[in-house]
């Protein structure tokens, strides 16, 4: 609960902070806080991933990007009452929607009745793997993970296409403009 409140505080700080370096560092702090919350929620695999990906890789990539661009945000000129109004409207509707959800941590909520008990009972016998998350990830939901791997592959190819080739062509364009 304390962690969740801290998360909200960091989120507000990200909104207020104008220097992009500050924003990136705050997002690293935010990722570590999220990872701690995930440990409390018993999702240790996910916490490990979030700590290494969110606080490690994405911060490094954001910093590498900041090396290439201007690092201060311009003061915004747009009237900002409409976004606030829209956000609060959406938030109010969502909070109203959560009121009828089962309270936090109840064992007989509908989510625990369906597929999950099958995994918990049979994962060890059918796959010899005590970590149910690994078993479900790679075995029961193999297609899912294959798709995710292909998505990562595609994103990597896309970034390489965007950042490798373009520079040469652009300088040729400049030359053509100079010639004409």
């Amino acid at each position: 609960m304390v962690l969740l409140t801290l998360l909200a505080a960091v989120a507000i700080a990200i909104v207020r902070q104008r220097s992009l370096f500050g924003v990136v560092l705050l997002s690293g702090i935010y990722s570590f806080l999220i990872a701690s919350v995930m440990i409390v929620l018993d999702a240790i695999d996910v916490a490990l991933t979030e700590a290494s990906v969110g606080a490690g890789v994405s911060v490094v990539i954001l910093l590498a990007t900041l090396h290439l661009i201007k690092t201060t945000e311009a003061a915004h000129t747009r009237a900002s009452w409409l976004p606030i109004f829209v956000s609060l409207g959406v938030g109010g509707a969502l909070v109203w929607g959560t009121l009828t959800l089962p309270p936090f941590g109840t064992p007989d909520a509908p989510i625990h009745r369906h597929v999950a008990p099958y995994y918990i009972e049979n994962a060890l016998r059918e796959t010899n793997v005590p970590n149910i998350v690994s078993a479900v990830l790679a075995d029961y939901r193999g297609y899912d993970t294959l798709g995710e791997t292909v998505v990562i592959f595609t994103a990597g190819i896309g970034v390489m296409m965007l950042l490798r080739g373009g520079k040469r062509r652009r300088s040729e364009d400049d030359k053509a403009e100079d010639a004409s």
Partner: protein, 121 residues
């Protein structure tokens, strides 16, 4: 008292939704593109929490089978979110690559300035 108890039982959802609308607000209101992407990732993490929170059972343990425990938290949301996080960073990098190319083409990453330049042409 009843209302207070109800609020505490749903406190996690309230904070999750607060994070969600914070991300939404950054996406809509700010014109700096890197900040928009960070807002997008805040929105994304709030979705992770929204998935993981119902899976928790009070008094349960992480879903790794051991003879000492009988109550495990729900493993299914963990699996879904685990892959979503890694895909999330891959798409974030794709967005940042686009930002870098936009910066090279327009000399700016502020949305307002880019629109202005487009209108001038």
């Amino acid at each position: 008292m009843q209302a207070l108890n109800n609020f505490i039982a749903h406190y996690n959802y309230v904070i999750t939704i607060f994070l969600m609308i914070t991300g939404l607000y950054i996406m809509v209101a700010r014109s700096n593109m890197v900040k928009k992407l960070i807002g997008l990732s805040i929105f994304q993490t709030s979705v992770y929490l929204l998935y993981l929170e119902p899976g928790k059972i009070l008094g349960g343990t992480p879903p790794i089978i051991d003879k000492a425990f009988t109550v495990y938290s729900n493993p299914l949301p963990h699996v879904l979110i685990l892959t979503a996080i890694v895909v999330g960073v891959a798409t974030l990098a794709l967005g940042l690559a686009l930002v870098v190319r936009i910066n090279e083409a327009y000399g700016s990453i502020e949305e307002d300035e880019i629109f202005k330049k487009d209108r001038e042409q």
